[in-house]
Symmetry: C2
C-alpha cells in the first residue's frame, strides 16, 4: 500500500541508483529505491572493450540486488535491445523478479531465456498501461526507437514523478503507424516531473534524426534499379526495417530468404506476434533459393557490424553453406558501423568487393538512420517534460556532459543537473537532492564462457602480456635431498618467436638459465623463490637486450 505523507512525518528519500549505462554505451540498468522497495528499470549487457581479452560480454554488478533481493518489487523493461535485456538471464540466477514488458520485448527476452535454460515470471503489458509495483506507480508511454514496441516510463513515487525516456528518437512517421503519444507526454509534463532520466547517445549530434520511413524510400530506389540478387544486412531486432525490406521486395516482385540465426529467430517471433506482416508465399527457405532467378530474390541477413561469425561475414569469405556470392550480387549494409567496428565492417566490405559484388554501405548511400534522438529531439522532450531535476543517462562522459549543457541551455538550473557515475546514488528528498558517491558496487562484471566474474584484472593483465610477447617457460627438476638441479633447465615458449628459426636464441636462453641456477648453487641459495627470481631476471634482461620484447617468464620447479 502506498503510504500518504502524513503531517509531521518525514518521508524517506527516493534513491535513484544507476548500476550501468553511465560513462559507457551499454549495460543499461537503473534502480529506484524507496522505503525498502526496489524497482529495476532494464537489465542490459555491453560488449567488451578491446583490452578485455577473451571476454564474451560484460554485465552489471548485481551484488547490491542480490543482497537486497527481498526489497525488489519488479523489473520494467523499456525495449528489447541487448543493452537493455542482455543481462536478465544472469540476474535471474540469483534473484526472482517479475519482469514487465511489451509483447515483442518479452518475446525477445523469452528467446534469450530459452538459450540459457532459465524460466522467468514474464508479465505482458501494453503501452499506455499503468502498473503498481509497491509504492511505484509506473505509467508506460509508447515511444519510437529502432525497435518496435518501445516504452518510456513515468513513475509516480511518494517524492514526485520520475520520467525515464528509455532509448528513443522522435519519429513522426513510424513504420508501424504508431507515433509517440505526445498528449500523454504533455500531460505528464504539466502535472510536474521531479526528475528526468534521458537517453544521451546522440546528445552531440545536431539536428534531427531522419525518420525510419526515409530508409524505406532509399531502399525502394535501390531495389528498383537492382538487376541481380540483393543481399541486405541489418540488425535483426529492427523489425520495422525488416518489414520495409520485405515490402520493397514484394513491390519489385522478389521473394525473400532469411539468413543468420538471430534474424531467423526474430522474424519468426515478430511474425507470430503480429509485428511483421508478411504475405504468404513471400518467404522462401534459404536452401531453396537456388531455383529462384537472381533478379527475383532478396536475402535478409545478420552481420551488418562485420561480426566475424555472422552470416554476412561467412558469405563474404565464401564459408556460408547456402549462399555463394556471385559477381554482380548487390550487397547492402542497412546500418552504420558502431564506433570501434569500422575496421571489421570495412574488411567485410573489401572482401565482398573482391568477390565482385556491388556493395552499398554507409560511406556511399543513406540507407540507415539512428534510433537515438539528436539534439533538436532532445530539446523537444526536455521542453515537454520540463523536469525539476535532470540526470543524463545512456552515454559516455562526453555525451552526458553535452546533454547536461543542452538541458541548462533550456532553462534547467545548473545545480539541478547531475553528472554521476554507475554506483552513485542520487537521493531525492522532498526539499533537496544530493549525490552520494560510490555507494553501490557497479564495476563491470566480465563473462568469459560459463564464467561470470572469474576473470578479473590480474587475469586480463596476463592475457594482455601474453598477447603482446607470449611466454617462456623454464622448467627444472630439483632433488629433494640435495636441493640441486638434476634435470633441466628446459626452455619452452609459446607466442614468442618461431622456435625452429631461432634455435640459437633459445639455446642461449637455456644456457643463461643454467648459469643463473648454477650461481644460486654456488652461493648456497636453495630458496625456490629466490632461484626463480634469479632465473626470471637473468633471462628477462637477456631477452630484452636481444629482442626488445618482454615475454612473461615462468620458472617452474619440480621436486623429485
Amino acid at each position: 500500500m502506498r503510504r500518504k505523507p502524513r503531517k509531521g512525518k518525514v518521508l524517506p528519500n527516493l534513491k535513484v541508483i544507476p548500476i550501468g549505462g553511465l560513462n559507457e554505451i551499454g549495460k543499461n540498468i537503473t534502480l529506484l529505491e524507496y522505503d525498502d522497495q526496489i524497482l529495476i528499470i532494464d537489465c542490459g549487457m555491453s560488449f567488451p572493450e578491446s583490452e578485455m581479452y577473451g571476454i564474451d560480454i560484460v554485465i552489471p554488478d548485481f551484488s547490491y540486488l542480490i543482497e537486497n533481493q527481498h526489497k525488489i518489487v519488479g523489473m520494467v523493461i523499456t525495449h528489447g535491445h541487448e543493452d537493455h535485456i542482455g543481462a536478465i538471464p544472469y540476474l535471474l540466477r540469483y534473484v526472482k523478479v517479475p519482469i514487465y514488458g511489451t509483447r515483442l520485448t518479452l518475446g525477445l527476452i523469452e528467446n534469450k531465456l530459452k538459450e540459457h535454460q532459465v524460466i522467468a515470471d514474464l508479465r505482458t503489458i501494453n503501452a499506455g498501461d499503468t502498473i503498481k509495483l509497491g509504492d511505484f506507480k509506473v505509467e508506460t508511454i509508447r515511444i519510437t526507437h529502432s525497435i518496435a514496441d518501445a516504452l518510456c516510463l513515468a513513475i509516480e513515487t511518494p517524492v514526485g514523478t520520475v520520467f525515464h525516456s528509455g532509448d528513443f528518437k522522435i519519429d513522426h512517421t513510424p513504420v508501424d503507424g504508431e507515433p509517440i503519444d505526445f498528449f500523454k507526454l504533455a500531460e505528464i509534463g504539466k502535472k510536474g516531473v521531479k526528475l528526468m532520466l534521458c537517453d544521451s547517445t546522440n546528445a552531440i549530434k545536431p539536428g534531427f534524426t531522419a525518420s525510419e520511413k526515409n530508409v524505406g524510400e532509399a531502399l525502394e530506389k535501390i531495389f528498383k534499379r537492382a538487376k541481380t540478387r540483393i543481399i541486405i544486412a541489418t540488425f535483426s531486432s529492427n523489425v520495422h526495417r525488416v518489414q520495409m525490406i520485405i515490402e520493397n521486395a514484394i513491390k519489385v516482385g522478389r521473394k525473400v530468404a532469411i539468413s543468420g540465426r538471430s534474424m531467423e529467430n526474430v522474424v519468426a517471433l515478430a511474425t507470430e506476434l503480429g509485428y511483421l506482416n508478411i504475405p504468404e508465399g513471400t518467404i522462401v527457405d534459404l536452401k531453396m533459393t537456388k531455383n529462384i532467378p537472381d533478379d527475383q530474390l532478396v536475402i535478409i541477413t545478420t552481420g551488418s557490424q562485420g561480426e566475424p561469425m555472422s552470416a554476412l561475414s561467412r558469405i563474404a569469405s565464401g564459408e556460408h553453406r547456402a549462399v555463394k556470392l556471385k559477381p554482380g550480387d548487390m550487397v547492402i549494409f542497412s546500418s552504420t558501423p558502431i564506433p570501434g567496428n569500422e575496421k571489421t565492417v570495412f574488411n567485410v566490405v573489401n572482401k565482398l568487393f573482391e568477390k565482385g559484388a556491388e556493395v552499398i554501405y554507409s560511406d556511399v548511400a543513406d540507407i540507415h538512420v539512428s534510433g537515438h534522438a539528436q539534439r533538436e529531439e532532445l530539446k523537444l522532450l526536455h521542453s515537454i517534460i520540463k523536469p525539476e531535476y535532470f540526470l543524463p543517462v545512456h552515454g559516455e562522459y562526453r555525451h552526458l556532459i553535452e546533454h547536461a549543457k543542452l538541458a541548462e541551455s533550456l532553462g534547467t538550473p545548473h545545480d539541478n543537473i547531475f553528472i554521476i557515475e554507475n554506483g552513485d546514488i542520487l537521493s531525492i528528498g522532498q526539499k533537496n537532492v544530493t549525490v552520494q558517491k560510490n555507494m553501490v558496487p557497479a564495476e563491470a562484471v566480465l563473462v568469459d564462457g560459463l564464467g561470470v566474474g572469474d576473470v578479473g584484472n590480474i587475469v586480463l593483465r596476463d592475457r594482455k602480456l601474453l598477447s603482446e610477447s607470449g611466454l617462456i617457460i623454464v622448467v627444472a627438476a630439483i632433488d629433494k635431498a640435495s636441493q640441486t638441479v638434476i634435470s633441466g633447465p628446459d626452455i619452452i615458449s609459446r607466442g614468442f618467436v618461431y622456435v625452429r628459426e631461432n634455435e640459437e636464441l633459445m639455446e642461449e636462453a637455456r644456457r643463461i638459465c643454467e648459469e643463473a641456477l648454477m650461481r644460486c648453487e654456488d652461493k648456497g641459495i636453495s630458496d625456490w623463490n629466490t632461484m626463480k627470481s634469479q632465473v626470471r631476471d637473468s633471462l628477462g634482461n637477456y631477452i630484452y637486450d636481444t629482442t626488445k620484447r618482454r615475454p612473461i617468464i615462468l620458472p617452474i620447479f619440480l621436486e623429485v
Copy 2:
C-alpha cells in the same frame, strides 16, 4: 645511358611492381623495373591490424629488392609521411641506395635514420627538378598534401611516361603559398602519359576537400573566444597546420609551448629548414609555462589519434610531468580519428571532459581537413593527365574499385584500368599491357621489437589463443628407467582464471591429468607424445565442459 629504340629491335617491357599500398592503407612502395634497372618510389610502413598481437609496425617484404639489389638505380620519396618513409631504415640494412627527396622529406628521413643508427646517401632535390636514374628520367612536380614539400612524379621511360600522383589533394590556397603547378601537369598530360598511378584514399568521398586555410579560419574563431589555456593536438608532420596554430596564437597574444617528442623534433627540423616561420620570443619551454597566465598560452601536442603513450594521453590521464590539466582548459583535436582509432580517441576525449576540460573534436567542429583528394579532385587530375592506362594505388580494395569506376566514367577504357595486388606485375610493352599475378613476394613483414619477420602466423595464432583464454601448463617428472611419473603432475596457469578463487577447479584439473597419466601407465604407454596428447585431451574436455573456454594446454615432461 638511355638506349634509343632502334628499328627492328624489340624493347623490353616496363614492369610496374607495387609491393605495398594496394588493398591497404599504408606501407606504400612501388618499383619500376626496366631492362635490369629498378627505381623505387617511396618506402613506407603501416600500423598493425588488431589481430597482429604485439606487433609494433608492418613493413614491406624486401626480398625481391635484396635479391636484385644490383639493379637498383635509386629511390625517390614523394613526401615525408610514415607510410612513405617509415620502412627505409629496414631496407637500408640490406641494400645501399641513393635516396632522393625534398628538404623536409629528407630531414624527416634523417631523424628516423638517427634513431635507427643508420647512415644513408641522401640527395636533396627541389620540386621542378628532373633527375636521371638509369633509363628513368624522373621529373618532380610540386603537389599539395597534408605535409609540406610533397611531390608527384612524371617518369619518362623508354615505353612511355609513368605519372605517379604521390599522396595529394588540390589546395588552391595552400598555407605556404605554393600551389600545384597546373601548367606543368597540363604539359605532361599533353605530351602523353602511358600509365597513371593515383592515390585512392578518398576515392569514395564525393566533392572536394576543403583547403588547409579553412582550418586556420576555424581555429582563429576558437582562439578568439578562448579565455583559458589552449592545448591543441595535431599530426606533428603537418607543418602547415602547426604554422597556422602558431600564427593564430600570436594574433591573440599567446605564447606557444611544444609537447611530445615527435612534435618537438619536427618543429625543430622545420624551423631549421625554414618551413616553419616562428617569430622570436613566441616559443617557450614547456617546463617554464607555469609562469605564463593561462590566457596567454597555447600548448601544441602530439596524440591526436589517442595513442596510449602520447603526450595528450598522458595529459588526459594525469601522467604528464609538465602539463597538469585544469578545469576550464580548452583541448582541441585538430584531426579526425583514422578508422580503427575511434574508440581510443573517444576514451581520451572522455578523460579530458572528466577532468573538466572543454574538448573540441571532430564530432563538434570543423577543425580538420583531409590531405587526400576526394572524387572531384581526382576527376580533375584524371582530366589533366589523361593517361592511356590507369592503376589506382594507396587504398583498400573498396577505394581502388571506386577509383577505377571513376576513371572509367571519365573515359579511360575499362580494359585499360587495372586492379592488382601487392606482388603482381603490371607489364607495359609498346603495344600491350598485361598483368602477371603473384610474381614478387609482397606479404606483410611484421616488426616486433628488434625482430623483423620472426613473428609469423604460428606465433600470432598462439598469441591470439593466449589472449583469449590463457594457458594451462601440466608439468611432471618422469623416471628415466621405469618411465613412470615420479613427481607431479602440477598445474600452473596464466591468463585463465584467478587461481585463488578457483582452487577447486584447479585441483580437479590436476586430478584429471593424474588419472590420464595413470591410464597410460596401466596400458603400458610410455611414448611421451601419446601421454601428452592424452593429458591435453582429458584436461581440454574437462575445462571446456566446465567453463566453455579453450585455453592452450601445454604438458611438459622432465626426464629424471
